[in-house]
């Protein structure tokens, strides 16, 4: 029977069915961070259990650790140090690899794991972090779990999983040259809703997907969870295989050929049946930004704040009104008239080297508008080093951006650093929820290119330099 890519990945890992719709799946990699991994590790120890195969479990410091130059264990977040110390000790006791503060491999988990070849095509990878779906960009079956399930995966090497249904999202036609992967995923969620992917494993395909670089595919799949999907997937191709080759944890010379032959089989059969299919005409997508407090509150940058009065469903209308009140925006306002206080480039969505290159490329010779605070936080210490070797840090700093150490930083507010109550931020992150970047902070999600263009204009603005996209 014809199978989808997701079906094949499921079958490869199914140890046994448990009940209708639920199976025991083998888990190839577990990745933890100090925020939710710490409690998984400490609870495991308290319950007297241990990791089945410590070589396949990894941990990093990203969520709580400060990103200021010269950082240590002290954190702006009250009580943050306790999480760092507990994680360090628990990781040591569990015998797992920790990418600690100061380790050249430290960084945001979903940036670090593919960068080091820990996540690979065809592997099951789970992390107690919802953006684990990022790794679908290289054809890994990866999804976010809770801390209890992380413990389950570490102890048993398996998880009990309810089988999601299959969805295919096909992006047809070439995307316009100024449209990034971030614009594509925001557009999809804007059209089909923040719960549009609920219950599905979503495979992205089509001309506009094959055309994406591997890092852009990671960006696209990163926000599958904002679409409420179980995960996102892009079938690995030669671009993926080249990208994975030679990474520190990728298969060595003796196994490389066998692994790559296996990865080439990880595609949906032509006759495979999907439970739901969506077609998106990529030619119609424009650089996009969010206006509200859900990723589905998306509009093109040359568009306007929508009017709740035009919406029939009373619940949707009420949610829009609430969002407008929080965002302090009036219906009908042109997005290009919305003045910003801050600009942020960072996160597991958009802080890889290609993101920083593209943003810096556009930024060269320009200045951040007066009164706008601008910050760039590389996705990993490796990205930071590579960016510095290319001189990107100097471009950002010359333009007025702060250049930081790697971590999740202001993608989420944990009681530490924030742009402040009422501050309006254009942000390359993934969540514009109320309070996500701090109490009262107003988030507009966008691509790194839109972030730099807006930072320089002092208002929300698409970059006027389409060639930059191909960087």
């Amino acid at each position: 029977m014809a199978r989808t890519l997701f079906d094949k990945l499921w079958d490869l890992h199914e140890i046994r069915p448990l009940d209708e719709g639920e199976s025991l799946l083998a888990i190839d990699r577990v990745f933890l961070h100090e925020r939710t991994g710490s409690i998984a590790l400490t609870t495991m120890a308290e319950e007297g259990r241990s990791v089945r195969d410590p070589k396949r479990v990894f941990c990093t410091m990203d969520h709580i650790v400060d990103t200021f130059p010269g950082r240590g264990d002290e954190t702006l977040m009250p009580g943050g140090t306790a999480f760092i110390l507990a994680t360090r000790e628990a990781a040591r006791n569990a015998g797992i690899q920790l990418f600690d503060i100061g380790d050249p491999r430290q960084g945001i988990m979903h940036v670090v794991s593919p960068e080091l070849g820990i996540a690979l095509p065809g592997l099951t990878v789970v992390c107690p972090d919802s953006h684990s779906c990022t790794l679908g960009g290289i054809g890994a079956l990866a999804w976010g779990i809770g801390s209890t399930e992380a413990q389950h995966a570490m102890v048993t090497g398996t998880l009990r999983v309810s089988r999601p249904r299959n969805m295919r999202v096909r992006f047809t036609g070439p995307r316009p040259p100024d449209v990034t992967a971030k614009d594509m995923i925001l557009h999809l969620i804007g059209r089909h809703g923040a719960d549009g992917g609920s219950g599905y494993a979503v495979e992205f395909c089509g001309e506009a997907i094959s055309d994406l670089s591997v890092e852009e595919r990671l960006t696209l799949c990163n926000m599958a969870v904002e679409f409420s999907a179980f995960t996102g997937l892009v079938a690995p191709d030669e671009r993926t295989i080249d990208w994975c080759r030679g990474r520190p944890y990728a298969p060595g010379p003796d196994l490389q050929q066998a692994a790559e032959a296996h990865w080439r089989e990880l595609v949906s059969d032509p006759e495979a049946v999907y439970d739901r299919q969506i077609e998106v005409d990529a030619r119609q997508i424009r650089p996009s930004v969010t206006w509200g407090t859900s990723p589905q509150h998306t509009v093109a940058l040359d568009g306007q704040v929508p009017d709740p009065a035009s919406v029939g469903n009373p619940d949707t209308r009420a949610a829009m009104e609430r969002a407008l009140a929080y965002m302090d925006l009036a219906p009908g306002t042109a997005m290009a008239d919305v003045a910003i206080d801050a600009a942020f480039i960072g996160s597991c969505t958009n802080a890889r080297l290609s993101d920083l290159r593209q943003a810096a490329h556009w930024l060269q010779g320009r200045r951040v508008a007066q009164g706008v605070r601008a910050v760039v936080v590389p996705g990993s210490s490796t990205v930071k080093r590579e960016a510095e070797a290319e001189g990107l840090d100097r471009i950002f700093e010359a333009a007025g951006f702060e250049w930081r150490e790697s971590g999740c930083s202001m993608c989420l507010y944990a009681g530490g650093e924030t742009f402040g109550p009422g501050a309006r931020v254009v942000s390359s992150t993934n969540r514009n929820f109320e309070g996500r970047q701090g109490p009262g902070t107003r988030t507009h999600l966008a691509s790194p290119l839109t972030v730099v263009a807006s930072a320089c204009a002092g208002r929300l603005r698409a970059a006027d330099w389409p060639e930059a996209v191909s960087a």
Binding site: G122, G144, G146, G415, R431
Partner: protein
Amino acid sequence: MKPIRRFEGVVAPLLRANIDTDAIIPSREMKRVSRHGLSEGLFAGWRYLDVDERRPDPEFVLNQPAFEGASILATGPNFGCGSSREHAVWALQEYGFRAILAPSFGAIFERNCFNNGVLPIRAEADALDRLLGDLGSAPGERLLTVDLENQRLAWGDGQSFAFEVPEVQREMLLNGWDPIDRTLQYGADIDAFIDSDRKQRPWVYDRG
């Protein structure tokens, strides 16, 4: 895990769509490496007029006397979407919630509920509206019986409706089983799978 079979409780309505786990418990309220001490932070952004001073907002549903001691939350679609933080479930549970009624749930949140003995019940929005409309507004009239054994919600003079929970989860909750212990019973299957998989995909276990 404490078994859930049948219980009666006050139902509190918080009928908004897409309530995310950042709203259920803001990251700043996760102050220690612990599953405990989280209930104060539950809905902190909405529950308090002043978060630092913990000054309650009398308008917020959980601060109203009629819903004191509520153990069932009725809410909107996609409840618990967003961040995977299990702290959202731990905070709800410590506050006293034992069941959540919603048209749909964030997938990770729903799993986290089952793993902690909190019962997520899927109920269509209009069924929920009917139920809430049926209940009186006086404190004694907000009571609902959750019967997991028979998968029924009951209230008033014999009104009820059926709900469905996947059988594996239902069994787990009814018995208060620990999922890790249950899985370890399949140890032989797991070992056999890994032995065979190691031959098929050796790079997964050792990079070579």
